[in-house]
Subunit: 201 residues, 2 copies
Amino acid sequence: MNKSGSLIVISGPSGVGKGTIIPYVLKKVKRLKVSISATTRKPRNTEVDGVNYYFISKEKFNSMIENDEFYEYVNVLDNSYGTPKKQVDDLLAKGYDVILEIETIGAEKIMNEYKCVSIFISPPSFSELKNRLINRGTETQEQIELRMKKSEKEMNSVYSYDYVVINDDIEDCAEKIACIIRAERLKVKSSKAFINKIINS
Amino acid sequence: MNKSGSLIVISGPSGVGKGTIIPYVLKKVKRLKVSISATTRKPRNTEVDGVNYYFISKEKFNSMIENDEFYEYVNVLDNSYGTPKKQVDDLLAKGYDVILEIETIGAEKIMNEYKCVSIFISPPSFSELKNRLINRGTETQEQIELRMKKSEKEMNSVYSYDYVVINDDIEDCAEKIACIIRAERLKVKSSKAFINKIINS
């Protein structure tokens, strides 16, 4: 069986809305799943273990690093985030495309090491990004200033990606990402089994 | 001004339905035009000069070849077809994406010589393609057999293209092509001016 989906890396500056958009994309596209990251940070209000993240201890995280069980892992503001390999590989083998929603540093690692489709979500402007972080209300003023400096760096990594989508309107942004995923499935290199069937018909 | 659209090559075996699908695509996507080819063949029933083709004499066609006025030209079953450069270049300069609907031999020339997005339209099977040629009723039995042999050759060129779309249902096929064109516009390499604006915001 040579049934295998594509890795789809979705990244962008902190606060751009990656986590909000992806459920909309999942509703629009069949045969698509999102990878659940492991993190050592505390859950935010509405977050559920095993749904939003696997919330694990620093000890468990370190043992997974030692056992090479992550596609990538990264430390962001005192917390660690990682993409567990097994869960993603199982889905790819079943023919699902799998979205990895990751910070830009982790995304760079994946893009350098694995075949993937990469999508950068951009804010319409930096002032809009700052407003969103303030409205989220989960960070202090100092943390927001720190994040904004980081966001400017993160924005510069956009040139490493295949696609860039502006998050101006959630529904529109999700439709554009869905369109990218559908178009990628129509690439000749993704359709070889099907083409051979027609040629031999 | 650095405003420039993309060349979009749409090809596939004779009779696959390229000419039928493209008007549907044009309705779905803004800022998109189709190039009008010049040909020496006689108009079919409903075809209009300057809309479906520029119907020109063999003498005129040859003088355009001599003056290097074609992107590509090709002879198909005693007739000549060519893509006039000027009309396409004017539209690209205005920021339109321009579809070139061309036979596979002309498409290969364009793909080798110019930066373009290439889409191959495939029949669901060869038997379906034969049925369509019979139903079109414009060719003799002998011409159909000749076309089918050519179609098998044409089908093998699919691997030179970026994308392949099966024409099983016109509306579905047109939507897929529209999706490819929208996704191509979201590529980072197509969005540099916009990205710079955000980074400098």
